[in-house]
Structure formats: structure tokens, C-alpha cells
Symmetry: C2
Subunit: 204 residues, 2 copies
DNA sequence: CTGTCAACTGGACTCGCAGTACAGTAGGAA
DNA sequence: TTCCTACTGTACTGCGAGTCCAGTTGACAG
């Protein structure tokens, strides 16, 4: 049964790498199977079909991303307790992290999934939706803490501002992929950071 | 020969609608052929393969988007000659336009293409790249005009700021697609607008 | 009136990939 | 010894992309 976990997650590792590099559609099951040194039957033993694989990958990816954010902002909080500065430090860390990734960035699976929509079933789409709503909640919470201390210079919709973190990252990754440059996402985050500095300039 | 143009652009119309709704991969040639009332042979007479179709669609789409931006900011300029206010009005118009689209928005083909990368050949990828670089140039130009009149409160990279327009739109559309909401893109644009207001607050 | 050409039709075929079915097997747990 | 999990291996279906090609239709040119 350790074997099971082992093979399953080996498939997921291989599939994730391939999908992030070439896209879901361009990654064939035969290819995964060959790389994992298993038979086609073995693959379908673990995953009913490609949708099941997509779902499992998304779940893992979202989980990892959440852990990453938890971690990042926990470290930021250690460095500065003020909610605004914590946010700013966290974003800086995020930008640095994105920049350090040699191949650019794995590229967010969310956008990829969103744009290949009909290839996936409702389960995958709902997972995707919940992930973004989760990030909205997370960041809105943080912005509300900031707004409790700093009065925004201009009125903003907190949900939309929360979404803007995801949006700026996703948008930056789209640019990065399309342009074949490697620091667009981190630059976009840095611009967003100065936005926040301007928006929450003075304490209440 | 009118027939040729006619059929070709009918294929493009049908393909574009299908691709924006379901994605490129999920749209089969058989399906396009059926909707256009032509034979498979007829399709391949006009387009060598699916890549040629993608290229033609992208060209048309980018051209249309450029015309749209020209138009939008020309109207904005009529309303206010000041470069900052022209930008702000243009973005407002863009946001309204996105919101008025009943089905959400056709969804930007750029992001879609970027994330299905390996499905396309170098020609398609390069087209995509050039489109984004074109927008970067356009918006950077506008921001430089603004910066000549208004001093930015914080230093910003003008290329990155130019990219941010595309990024915010793309990112907003990704959110919109994934969340199945319909005003995320326009909300994101409005947030970006208040960013610009804060950034370029006082005249030199 | 004839020939040419562009714009198709229609059918047959190859190939790669997803997914199904199912029979068989190796190895550990009860 | 038996049962179960985690596979292997093979064979088959079906779909969609792309190829090949022979034949048709209608406009226009000489």
C-alpha cells in the first residue's frame, strides 16, 4: 500500500511537470506512463480518466500554493507586525520567489484550467473556483486588517482588491508565458505593491 | 473569388465563436465544417491545418482589439485632452464595455493561446508575443505623456506599467472565466484606474 | 463555344491518443 | 491457503487531425 501511494504520487509529479511545461492537452497518457515506468493499465488503475488526473493535480497544486502563502506571510509577520508592512514584505518575498525560479515559473494551473474549460468536468471547474474564492477571502481579510489601521485614500471594493492579488499574479504569468520573458510576474507584483503603499498611506 | 473571402471569413467567424466559448482544443474541425455547411476538404482548402486557422484568428482578433483601443482612447481624448484624464476616461470606457458584454466577455485569446502553447507553432506564438509588445508600447507611450505632466509619487518602470494594463485585463478575464462571475475584469480595471489616480496625483 | 482556374465536394485512408475490457500475476496480510 | 491490492499486457473501439485525390461547378477569358 506504500507502493500505491508511491506510484500515484510519482504519476502526479511527472504529470505536473509535463503539464506545466506543455499544457494539459499536449501531455499524453502514454508519455506519463513511459516516464513513470508503468503500464497503461496501471495508470487507469489509479486514475479513472484524464479528468481524475486533472482533479488530483489541481488539489495538490492548490494545497501547495496555500501552504506557500501561509508560510510566506507568516515569515513576513515575523519581520513586521504591522498589517500593511506584513503585506508589503509578503509581496516582496513572493516577487523574489517568482524571480528566482529559473525556468520562469511553473505557471499557474488555474489560468490554464480556466482557458481549457470544456476539456474538464464540473468537479475540476468547481475546484478551480473554490481556490480563487479562497484566495479572495485570505487577501480580503488581510486588507481589512490593514484598512482598520490605515485609511484608504480612495474607496475600494475589498473583494475586488483581494482578487487583484490573484489577478495580478495570473496576469503576470500570462504575460510571462506569452512574451517568453521571466520577470513579468514579479514586476507586476512590485507595481501592485506600490499601489498598496499609495492606497494605504496614512494611519487613521 | 468573392465566394472565397466569404467562406474563409465565415469559417473564421464560426471558429472564433466556438473557440472563445470552449477553447481551441475542444473545437473540432468537423464541428466548424458542419456549422459552416462546407466539406472537410473545403476547410483544408482554406487552411492548411489547425495552426493556420489559429494564426488567422489571432491576426483578426489582434487587429480588432487594436482598432477598439484606438477608438476608445480617441473618444476619451475628445472628452478630455489632458493625458491623465484621457487615460482614466479610456479605462472607464473599457470597463463599461467589458461589463456590457452579456456573456461576460469573449475572453482574451491571448491568454488562451499562451496556456496552450505547445499546441501551436512558432508563428502563432510570435504573433501573440508581438501583440502584447504592441500594447506595451501603446500604453507606455500614454504613461510617458502623463508622466511628462504629472510627477509620479513613486518611481515605476514604465514598461511594466504599460504591461499592467494588459496584465490586469488578462488577469481579470482569467478570474471571470474561473469564477463564472461577469464583472471581475471591469472591477480590476477600475482598481487599476484608482492606482493611476493615486500615482499621478499632482502636476509638475 | 471551349478551356482554364478557383473553389469547392466526397470518400477513403493513416495515425495518435483516450478510454474500455479483461485475463493474468506478484507479493504481502489474515 | 486464500484473498486482496497493485499492478502488467494485450487487444479493441472511437474520435479527431491531417493526407490524398479524383471529380464537380461556375465564372471569366480568349
Amino acid at each position: 500500500m506504500d507502493q500505491k501511494v508511491d506510484t500515484r504520487s510519482r504519476i502526479l509529479d511527472i504529470a505536473e511537470a509535463a503539464v506545466l511545461e506543455k499544457g494539459f492537452e499536449a501531455t499524453s497518457i502514454d508519455e506519463i506512463v513511459a516516464a513513470a515506468n508503468i503500464s497503461r493499465g496501471g495508470f487507469f488503475y489509479h486514475f479513472k480518466d484524464k479528468n481524475a488526473l486533472a482533479r488530483a493535480m489541481l488539489e495538490r497544486y492548490i494545497e501547495a500554493e496555500n501552504v506557500l502563502y501561509d508560510d510566506l506571510f507568516a515569515r513576513a509577520k515575523e519581520l513586521n507586525d504591522d498589517p500593511l508592512h506584513c503585506m508589503l514584505i509578503g509581496l516582496k518575498l513572493l516577487a523574489e520567489m517568482l524571480e528566482e525560479m529559473p525556468t520562469g515559473h511553473p505557471g499557474c494551473v488555474i489560468a490554464s484550467t480556466a482557458y481549457q474549460d470544456r476539456l474538464f468536468d464540473e468537479g475540476v471547474r468547481e475546484l478551480n473556483r473554490q481556490a480563487i474564492l479562497g484566495w479572495r477571502k485570505r487577501f480580503r481579510g488581510m486588507f481589512e486588517e490593514i484598512a482598520a489601521v490605515y485609511e484608504p485614500r480612495e474607496p475600494v471594493n475589498m473583494d475586488a482588491l483581494g482578487d487583484m492579488v490573484s489577478g495580478v499574479v495570473e496576469g503576470g504569468l500570462v504575460l510571462q508565458r506569452a512574451l517568453r520573458e521571466h520577470n513579468n510576474a514579479s514586476e507586476q507584483i512590485m507595481l501592485f505593491r506600490t499601489y498598496l503603499k499609495l492606497l494605504f498611506a496614512h494611519k487613521r
